[in-house]
C-alpha cells in the first residue's frame, strides 16, 4: 500500500510538472483563477482605489511590477530560502519592491502617486503577491514564475480597470476622465463611494460565475 502511494505521489508530481504550460498560466491568471474574480484575493485595493478607471489601471500596473519582481526574486532564491524562514523572507522581498515602485512613482508620476496615496505602500499586504510567492514561485522555475506574475498581475489589473470604469461611468459620467453622457446626466454618486465598490464587485463576481457556469454546461452537453 505504502509503496503504491509513493508511486502515486511520484506520478502526480510528474504530472504537475507538465501541468504548467504557458497558455495555462495565462488562462489561469486572466480568467480561470483570476485573483479578484475567482480567488477573491487583493480585494482591499480592488475596492478602495477603483473610483476611476485610471486609478484602477495605475494600481494594477504597480501591482504587476511588484508581482513580477517578487515572483522572480522568490523563484531565483527558492533553493536558498529555508522553508521555516520563507514567510519573513517573502515579506522582506515584497516590501523592498513595493518601496522601489513607491519611490519611482513619486519621482516620475507624481500626480498619480498623490492620488493613490497610501494604497501603494499597502501593496505589501496584498495577499495575491504573498499568495503567488508561496503557491507558485517558491516551487516553480524562474521563467514560469515570471510568466505567472505577469499573468496574475494583468488579470488583477483587468479586474480593477473593469471595476474602475463601471464606477466612473455611473458615478462620474466619464470614462478615463472623458465625459460621455453630456452635462445633464445625473451621476449616481454612491457608485464612487465605498458602497458602490461592493456593489460593482458583487455584480462582476455574479457575471463571471454566470459565464463560467454556462461554459461548464456547454462542456457537459
Amino acid at each position: 500500500m505504502v509503496k503504491n502511494n509513493e508511486n502515486d505521489n511520484e506520478k502526480t508530481k510528474a504530472k504537475t510538472k507538465d501541468r504548467d504550460p504557458l497558455p495555462k498560466i495565462y488562462a489561469d491568471g486572466l480568467w480561470n483563477s483570476n485573483p479578484v474574480l475567482i480567488m477573491l484575493l487583493g480585494l482591499c485595493p480592488a475596492l478602495a482605489v477603483t473610483s476611476s478607471g485610471l486609478n484602477g489601471l495605475a494600481m494594477g500596473v504597480a501591482t504587476i511590477f511588484v508581482l513580477v519582481m517578487a515572483n522572480l526574486a522568490v523563484s531565483i532564491l527558492r533553493g536558498i530560502i529555508p522553508a521555516k524562514m520563507r514567510i519573513p523572507s517573502f515579506i522582506v522581498i515584497i516590501a523592498t519592491f513595493v518601496t522601489v515602485i513607491d519611490l519611482l512613482m513619486e519621482a516620475y508620476a507624481n500626480d498619480l502617486h498623490g492620488q493613490l496615496g497610501i494604497f501603494i505602500p499597502l501593496i505589501v499586504v496584498n495577499c495575491i503577491i504573498l499568495g503567488r510567492a508561496e503557491a507558485f514561485a517558491y516551487k516553480k522555475s524562474v521563467w514560469k514564475s515570471f510568466n505567472d506574475g505577469l499573468a496574475m498581475g494583468v488579470g488583477f489589473t483587468l479586474a480593477l480597470v473593469a471595476m474602475g470604469v463601471i464606477r466612473e461611468i455611473f458615478g462620474n459620467n466619464s470614462v478615463f476622465g472623458y465625459n460621455i453622457f453630456g452635462e445633464d446626466f445625473n451621476n449616481v454618486l454612491f457608485m464612487i463611494l465605498p458602497p458602490g465598490a461592493f456593489l460593482t464587485l458583487g455584480y462582476l463576481l455574479a457575471l463571471s460565475h454566470y459565464i463560467n457556469n454556462k461554459r461548464a454546461e456547454r462542456k457537459k452537453a
Binding site: L77, Y108, N110
Partner: protein
C-alpha cells in the same frame, strides 16, 4: 543550532540585499522627487496667479495671530503684483487639504489650486474643479463673505460636501485676513524668514 544559524544568516543576507537595492533606488530617484515637488509648486503658483508670467517670486514665511504660512510674493519692476498663499487645513473630511490661493495687490482672489487632499472622489474632491472655486475669483473680503451658505456666508457648497467646502472656505478666509495684515504692515514685521524663489 547550525540550521538555525543558517536560517538567520539567509534572512540577514536577503535584508542586506534589499537594503542595498532600496538605497540605490533612493539615490537614483532623490533628485527627480525633489524636482517633481518643485514642478508641482511652480504649476500651482502659475495656476493661481495669472499675473505671474516670468516675474520673479519670493517666498516669505509670515506669522499672523496663530497662523504661520508661506506667502509667495510677485513683483514686476519693483511693483507688487500680488501673492499666492499656501494654506493648510485639517478640517476636511479626511486628513490634510493643502492648497494655494492666488490674491492680487487689491486683495482679490485670482485662483485656487489644491495640491494635496484625500477628500472623497466625486464629492469633496470636486473642490478641485473651477466650477466650484470659480466663485471665489474676483472676490475680496470687502464684497464677499468667505463662509459657506450654511454659516451665513456667500460661498455655495459642493453638493453633499459641506465639510470640505467649509474647511477650504474657512482656511481661505483666515488666509485673506492674514494677507490683509501682510499688506497693511508690509513685509517689515512678522516675517519669519524670507527666501528667494528664483533659481
Amino acid at each position: 543550532m547550525a540550521a538555525q544559524k543558517k536560517d538567520v544568516l539567509i534572512l540577514v543576507l536577503i535584508a542586506t540585499f534589499s537594503g542595498l537595492l532600496l538605497s540605490g533606488t533612493y539615490i537614483l530617484t532623490k533628485k527627480d522627487i525633489a524636482k517633481a515637488k518643485i514642478e508641482k509648486q511652480k504649476k500651482a503658483l502659475k495656476a493661481v496667479m495669472p499675473f505671474l508670467g516670468n516675474n520673479p517670486y519670493e517666498k516669505i514665511v509670515y506669522k499672523y495671530q496663530e497662523n504661520t504660512i508661506n506667502i509667495f510674493t510677485v513683483t514686476e519692476n519693483e511693483n507688487f503684483l500680488g501673492a499666492a498663499l499656501e494654506l493648510k487645513t485639517k478640517k476636511g473630511y479626511s486628513g490634510w487639504i493643502v492648497f494655494y490661493l492666488g490674491v492680487d495687490a487689491d486683495g482679490k482672489v485670482t485662483g485656487m489650486y489644491i495640491t494635496e487632499s484625500k477628500e472623497t472622489p466625486g464629492l469633496g474632491d470636486k473642490a478641485k474643479d473651477k466650477k466650484w472655486w470659480g466663485q471665489f475669483v474676483g472676490k475680496s473680503k470687502e464684497d464677499f463673505i468667505f463662509k459657506v451658505e450654511k454659516d451665513k456666508g456667500d460661498v455655495v457648497s459642493i453638493t453633499a460636501s459641506t465639510i470640505t467646502s467649509r474647511a477650504i472656505t474657512n482656511a481661505s478666509d483666515q488666509g485673506l485676513d492674514l494677507y490683509k495684515d501682510f499688506l497693511a504692515n508690509g513685509a517689515k514685521t512678522n516675517v519669519v524668514e524670507a527666501q528667494d524663489g528664483k533659481k
